[in-house]
Symmetry: C2
Subunit: 237 residues, 2 copies
């Protein structure tokens, strides 16, 4: 059992005070847990493809043309990240498709478990998971070498362009008071599944005690960002 996974979530207050530009989490460094570049990029590229697939599904089931258009912006951002990471895989000279195929299991499992009952749950899944996973992979990119480190980090931390989607979710909750409690519950469930997928990105060493000592505080930060995202929607994490 990995201890950090059971860690309590931090209080929302501190996270809410931070402005978007000085998010501590983007300084996180998980370089001791970075797999080799092929595995890193294959998993990262497939995760972004999965986020894109899920957002596309939200586009399809969104009720209005305007909602579709707003969500499409976020879908495009995930797709662009996927394409860039895929391009990095090709630069390495590996068979990018085969590499993703080998490392898709955790993302496929995540996808099955987080479809959601309607477009609001599916949109929330993507908002929460995309942020968490981008930040986890960015923290891991510290362990890559040379230019790839810089490029991968820049790709992963590119703006998700999900403001319009988040505004839509806020509107939906405003016009339906029963929605917020349901989404709050859904958000907690998504956190669990997202953490499992984030964990899949890490390569653990032999010394479990030492690993835990580094990962625990890192995930505390990542979870604080999750809380901040929930706060932004007025949801209790």
């Amino acid at each position: 059992v990995v201890e950090w996974f059971k860690r309590r979530r931090p209080r929302p207050a501190a996270a809410a005070l931070r402005s978007r530009d000085e998010i501590v989490v983007t300084k996180l460094d998980l370089h001791e847990f970075t797999p080799g570049p092929t595995v890193f990029l294959a998993k990262a590229a497939y995760v972004q493809l999965t986020l894109f697939e899920n957002l596309s599904r939200v586009v399809s089931i969104a009720p209005t043309a305007e909602a579709k258009a707003s969500i499409a912006i976020a879908a495009q951002a995930s797709l662009a990240k996927h394409r860039s990471l895929y391009g990095e895989l090709e630069r390495l000279g590996v068979d990018a498709g085969a590499a993703m195929e080998e490392h898709r299991a955790a993302a496929d499992r995540f996808q099955r478990l987080t479809l959601g009952a309607d477009w609001t749950e599916a949109a929330l899944t993507n908002y929460l998971a995309a942020g968490f996973l981008d930040e986890t992979y960015a923290a891991l990119s510290a362990g890559l070498l040379g230019d790839l480190k810089t490029r991968a980090r820049a790709i992963l931390l590119t703006d998700r362009r999900d403001d319009a989607m988040v505004a839509l979710l806020a509107e939906a909750m405003e016009s339906n008071p029963r929605l917020a409690p349901r989404l709050a519950m859904w958000g907690r469930r998504v956190l669990g599944d997202t953490m499992l997928l984030a964990r899949d990105a890490l390569e653990f060493g032999e010394d479990h005690r030492r690993s835990a000592a580094i990962i625990e505080p890192a995930f505390t930060e990542l979870i604080a960002e999750h809380t901040r995202r929930m706060d932004r929607l007025g949801l209790a994490a």
Copy 2:
């Protein structure tokens, strides 16, 4: 009854001889049938959004990570067209979401009818319909005014980036001999539904005889391009 819709398809030979760079159809001019800029852009933007939705669905149901990645390239191209056309709507100062909402019926109908039974049919739908619709809207853009004419045309005729998807379809047919006849039939059905959707983009005047005299030869060209796309896959149109 609109006559051109019943027109016979031209022979494939002539179309196959043309190189991609000198496609006659991109010189088509349907300016007499161009609706006002808001209606034109609303329909065009929603059609591209629909093509994106459908391609995203193909990404989701494609069997391998490599296939997903290849189809995602084409999906990205549709999405980029949607975003650009949506941006043009906003430039006009209209409520872009509401405008698309008002004009989505024909595209929604098209989507319902052309889902296909598996990823190969869905991919073929998109390959065939996207080309036909891009070219129809490009021909209609001749009736727009000022810079919008140039920009809309450039957006619509941007490369679809579907080479990798088409290669996948060709591979699938090679490894399963029973697939080609099924896809040939599906392609014919898609042509009918696509023509209905293309027709929805046109605004007809009072003089039906005159309309038919212009539209007939234009659609002959558009259908010749459809035949060229079928040829490219080794399918009889």
